[in-house]
Amino acid sequence: MISVDRLEKSYDGFKAVDGISFEVESGQILGFLGPNGAGKTTTMKVLTCFMPPTSGTVTVDGLSVTEHSKEIRKKIGYFPEHAPIYADMNVVDYLQFVADVRGIEKAQQTAAIKHVIEITSLGDMVQKDIGELSKGFRQRVGLAQAMVHNPDILILDEPTTGLDPNQIVEIRSLIKEIGKEKTVIFSTHILQEVTATCDNVMIINKGKIVAKGSPDQLMANAEGKGILNIELNPAANGVLEKLSALEGVTGTREGKDKNTFVIESAKDTDVREAVFKCAVKNKWILMGMNYNQTSLEDVFRQLTE
């Protein structure tokens, strides 16, 4: 279990992480969400014992990152942002090197390396220099090195950045697969990623946690709203007043485009029928109607703007 308590990290007086606390249970996948520069990478660098916290405590299975760094580093597999890997080594030599440094017994190394090559589908690339590989394959080498010692905890910093859509789907399902047995923390600024893969989501902005919970909970907790966009032709007078008077409608305003209107309602209250009847009664010509529930994207934007 990972436990972070009031973690702070400053660089030259700038607070990159400002007093965040959270816990990750074993076997969970935690999605770490936030705009660029929110403090995701910094938090990960502290968790992986790359640098110590300015203040606060961070423990992994009860061990402190400042005092038991080496024990923790043994438990963790880390994929830093941009997958920095030695370009002038070939894939299998590199994995061999990681296995050596990780202290895997010689007898088990071949099997361990074979296993990670298999799950990351690197089979055809093993003899190639890493520098010659495409971005997607380099990311996979990064994932492979993070898993070669079969760690309990995987910390992945933006593992899908720079991949094409097919590769993203593959890496996501790989993370999901790994997450069945291991604790995974991964960061992203892509929203679909967390809804698709995570048990829990944490949204962080300007060094602070602004929301956490399961993807469903987050959406529920956000001011749940139904949003109805309509278009009339031509717009009549007094549209907003008449719409506001309808039952279930909590707010109305003019939309961005000409002759469009936005009607807000409570979550799970569908006002489409009422709006339609109102239009017919007033002889408005209804050109279009589009109903949405608040998405995680709206939640994200609301919280991080």
Binding site: S10, P53, R73, P80, P84, I85, M89, V101, R102
Partner: protein
């Protein structure tokens, strides 16, 4: 211990993966050997004395240039590429990283020294040099180079710019080398003589092994590696 050797092997694999490694080593050997036989005051064929004194006189100068060129990438390159982050978050101590990388430079250096064997072998074939002096010279030259590479390792740990690592190493070595004889008398001369590299390898070339010289070189190596290791660990002091 295993991690140190794993890192050393990794460095060797990376380095010898490119032709630059072979070129650097070959140029060093060819240059040193050519100068020894043909160039300057000590030129072997002009003097008609069968010793290899001139070899190390010139090679120690050439090495002032080659050692930083080989050591500059050690840690600076990893800092620049971000691979250092991945390395230090594995269960390896900072001093193990430094030693592993340093050992790699010693292996490269050993290959260079092996290549230089052409000279003593040739001299032995055509004359009768004192084998004892050749051996002590080799020991002295090994210690000298080992100190160069240790200083280079330390410089490389402070920057992510290889050029800066090169220049700093080159300047440090140059100063240590050239201050010998800068002041000829007085108490300052004694101090300078103690610090200067020059004052400590001359004995080896005369066939003398002085424990003070050995202590000098080992101290430089130990101090440099300690500094390098501290530079790596310094990321943890910045809270």
């Amino acid at each position: 211990m295993n991690t140190i050797f794993a890192l050393m092997r990794k460095e060797l694999k990376s380095y010898f993966n490119s032709p630059i490694a072979f070129i650097v080593i070959a140029v060093f050997i060819i240059l040193s050997t050519w100068i020894f036989f043909y160039y300057g005051d000590y030129a072997f064929f002009d003097r008609g004395i069968s010793d290899i004194r001139g070899l190390f006189q010139y090679s120690s100068l050439i090495l002032l240039f080659f050692a930083p060129a080989i050591s500059m990438r050690l840690i600076a390159e990893e800092k620049y590429n971000g691979t250092l982050e991945l390395l230090v978050t594995m269960p390896i101590e900072d001093y193990e990283i430094v030693i592993g990388k340093y050992l790699y430079t010693l292996v490269v250096y050993a290959i260079m020294l092996l290549g230089l064997m052409v000279t003593p072998i040739t001299v032995m074939l055509i004359g009768e040099p004192e084998v004892g002096v050749i051996l002590t010279s080799y020991l002295g030259f090994f210690l000298l180079g080992a100190s160069y590479f240790a200083i280079g390792t330390a410089a490389s740990a402070f920057t992510k710019n290889q050029i800066i690592a090169f220049i700093v190493t080159f300047l440090l070595l140059g100063v240590l080398y050239l201050i010998g004889g800068a002041v000829s008398s007085g108490p300052l001369a004694a101090i300078i003589d103690t610090i200067s590299i020059h004052g400590h390898f001359e004995n080896f070339f005369k066939g003398i092994i002085d424990i003070r010289d050995i202590v000098y070189f080992i101290s430089i190596i130990a101090l440099s590696l300690y500094v390098a290791s501290t530079a790596l660990t310094s990321r943890k002091f910045l809270k």
